[in-house]
């Protein structure tokens, strides 16, 4: 953090002004309130207030069966909803000891990596906008649109995808989805390269970001930071590499690590992660060719809702459908913690089950919530304009922050 002389409240020379940065300030990217004490343009102190869109995710989850919690998870980090969604289903599958087929794992990896790219596109694009460069954002958003079109092909919706089911997917990927995916893989690297050329050595951008909001590895770990912002400080903690899930162990990829822990470093780490994600998707696509293309969910009729036409025509399907909907199938009484690498860091689900049809308690370790708490302390001594850039580099998503 920068070491500038600042006035304090007790200083008779000072005339501090109070600024409400947010809620719904265009620069705060969501509903966060930061009451800042300013000495000129220098921030003396700040207090963050959150909770404006708190929706009692955990309480609602206690009252819903496992398969109906899916839409709730989509609305947390809405920039990369499939990751939340898959993370939740993997937790349930771990609880119920369900082994998913390899093809499901690979499809999940593809969807999750696409979501990561979509999230980083928004974050890095907006970081450019906050420093005054709109072009990069405009170029990149075209490809987020392409990712959304792939989602659309897979599940019919774009933002809150509701893409997973216990044991796999709701439906198989059609050929058009793969065509769009291949087109994306062909077109996106060119734009990403262009984006990097536009920013990485841009004089204004580097001046505005290098050395801003520097965080050491010790501070970041003490604040339980995870994800790209932790890796920017030099700690190579990535859940995908450390505790592989969904067959991430089958893929070759690197965990990009920064060194200085400033805004510029976070930007570079996210850019590099997009390259690595592309690499993973390429490998997953190649592996998919060797798998049976009709499999898209595990054979767990007691937890996976049968297709509607079978319910109408097949007695067994009807019975299973009834049993699932009425919650008559027993589940183990135990507790499970499962985490995945979300776009912002470790996304953990702590699920306590009492054998019923809905969780007894579900707690969600939300990376945005944990990452954001350092924002006010680290803004101390910073210029207001730097604090804005710092906020976009942390990539806080309000839905996940408030849950």
């Amino acid at each position: 953090m920068q070491n500038h002389p600042v006035f304090t409240d007790n200083d008779p020379q000072s005339e501090l002004s109070t600024l409400n940065l947010g809620p719904t300030h265009p620069a705060t990217h969501g509903v966060f309130q930061n009451v800042l004490q300013l000495d000129g343009e220098r921030i003396v102190s700040g207090v963050s207030t959150i909770g404006y869109i708190h929706r009692a995710f955990e309480k609602i989850a206690e009252h819903r069966p496992f398969y109906q919690i899916t839409p709730l998870t989509d609305r947390l980090n809405y920039c990369s909803s499939p990751i939340n969604n898959m993370g939740w289903h993997m937790t349930v599958e771990k609880l119920l000891n369900i082994q998913t087929p390899k093809r499901v794992d690979y499809l999940r990896v593809i969807v999750m990596e696409l979501a990561r790219i979509a999230d980083h596109i928004v974050c890095n694009g907006v970081l450019g906008v906050d420093t005054g460069a709109f072009t990069g954002f405009l170029y990149m958003m075209e490809h987020r649109e392409a990712i959304y079109e792939i989602y659309e092909e897979v599940c019919g919706s774009r933002l809150t995808t509701n893409i997973g089911r216990i044991g796999g997917f709701e439906r198989n990927f059609n050929s058009k989805a793969f065509d769009k995916l291949r087109a994306f893989l062909k077109n996106f690297p060119k734009t990403l390269k262009e984006f990097e050329t536009l920013f990485n050595r841009n004089r204004i951008f580097v001046d505005r970001t290098r050395g801003v909001a520097e965080v050491t590895a010790e501070t970041a770990l003490s604040y339980s930071w995870t994800g790209p912002i932790l890796r920017a400080t030099g700690v190579d903690y990535d859940v995908r590499a450390m505790n592989p899930y969904s067959s991430y162990e089958d893929f070759e990829f690197e965990v990009p690590v920064g060194d200085t822990g400033d805004v510029y470093s976070r930007f570079l780490v996210r850019n590099e992660e997009m390259w690595q994600s592309l690499r993973i998707i390429e490998q997953a696509l190649a592996k998919l060719d060797k798998e049976d293309s009709t499999i898209f969910h595990a054979d767990v009729p007691e937890f996976y809702l049968p297709p509607k036409e079978e319910v109408y025509n097949n007695m067994e399907a009807l019975i299973y459908h009834f049993k699932i909907v009425m919650g008559e199938i027993p589940t183990p009484t135990t507790e499970v913690y499962h985490s995945v690498e979300g776009a912002n860091g470790e996304l953990g689900f702590y699920l306590v089950n009492d054998g019923g049809r809905s969780p007894y308690r579900l707690h969600f370790r939300r990376p945005s919530f944990i990452n954001y708490q350092m924002y006010a302390p680290m803004s101390r001594g910073m210029l207001l304009s730097d604090a804005i850039i710092n906020m976009s580099s942390l990539n806080i998503i309000a839905g996940e922050l408030d849950a």
Binding site: I50, G51, H54, A56, E58, K59, I60, E62, H63, K94, T219, L221, S222, Y223, S224, W225, V235, Y237, M242, N243, T334, E335, V336, Y337, S339, E346, G348, Y350, V352, Y360, R361, H363, R365, F369, I370, Q373, M374, P377, D402, A403
Partner: protein, 167 residues
């Protein structure tokens, strides 16, 4: 470094804390121990600073409510050792009406908001916390909504009563 086997972890804790820490189980290979609030900071300090264990990363703090138990409120810590890639879960159960527990902010800055959230939802009072206020809910709220006695829906609602549907 390789993952620390749970047996070794149990032994290391037992050597230091004897019977003050009990092993609850290993659901899905994640060692779960229970302790009292008198030892919790000592235990966390030991786990964080021990040269072999190095559980230096605080993953999560949360709570759970069991209305039928004598000690109703459980506070749950998840720690992670990034050097050995081992996780551990620690539980402390508190009696309703005396929900005080020492704050872990002395060990991790990140515990601040996690404890505020736990206070907000369950009313657990973290002694020594620098700023124990509600975080997600409004300040003038009186209930602790994640406790089981607070139903999801307004109990005064009549439009969902079975009576009106002929049941």
């Amino acid at each position: 470094m390789a993952k620390i086997p749970n047996e070794q972890l149990i032994k290391a804790i037992a050597d230091k804390f004897d019977t003050q820490v009990t092993v609850v189980g290993e659901p899905y290979e994640l060692l779960t121990v229970e302790t009292g609030r008198e030892q919790i900071i000592d235990l966390l300090t030991f786990l964080k600073t021990d040269a072999e264990l190095k559980f230096a990363f605080l993953t999560d703090i949360t709570a759970i409510h069991y209305p039928e138990q004598e000690k109703q409120i459980g506070v749950i810590y998840h720690l992670h050792s990034l050097t050995t890639n081992t996780r551990i879960r620690i539980k402390v159960f508190l009696t309703d009406g005396d929900v005080h527990i020492p704050s872990a902010t002395v060990l991790w800055d990140g515990a601040n908001w996690m404890e505020r959230e736990t206070y907000d939802f369950f009313g657990v009072i973290f002694d020594g916390h620098p700023d124990l206020r509600r975080i997600l809910n409004v300040d003038d709220m009186t209930a602790f909504p994640m406790r089981k006695e607070f139903p999801l829906e307004d109990p005064n609602r009549v439009d969902k009563k079975d009576f009106y549907f002929g049941r």
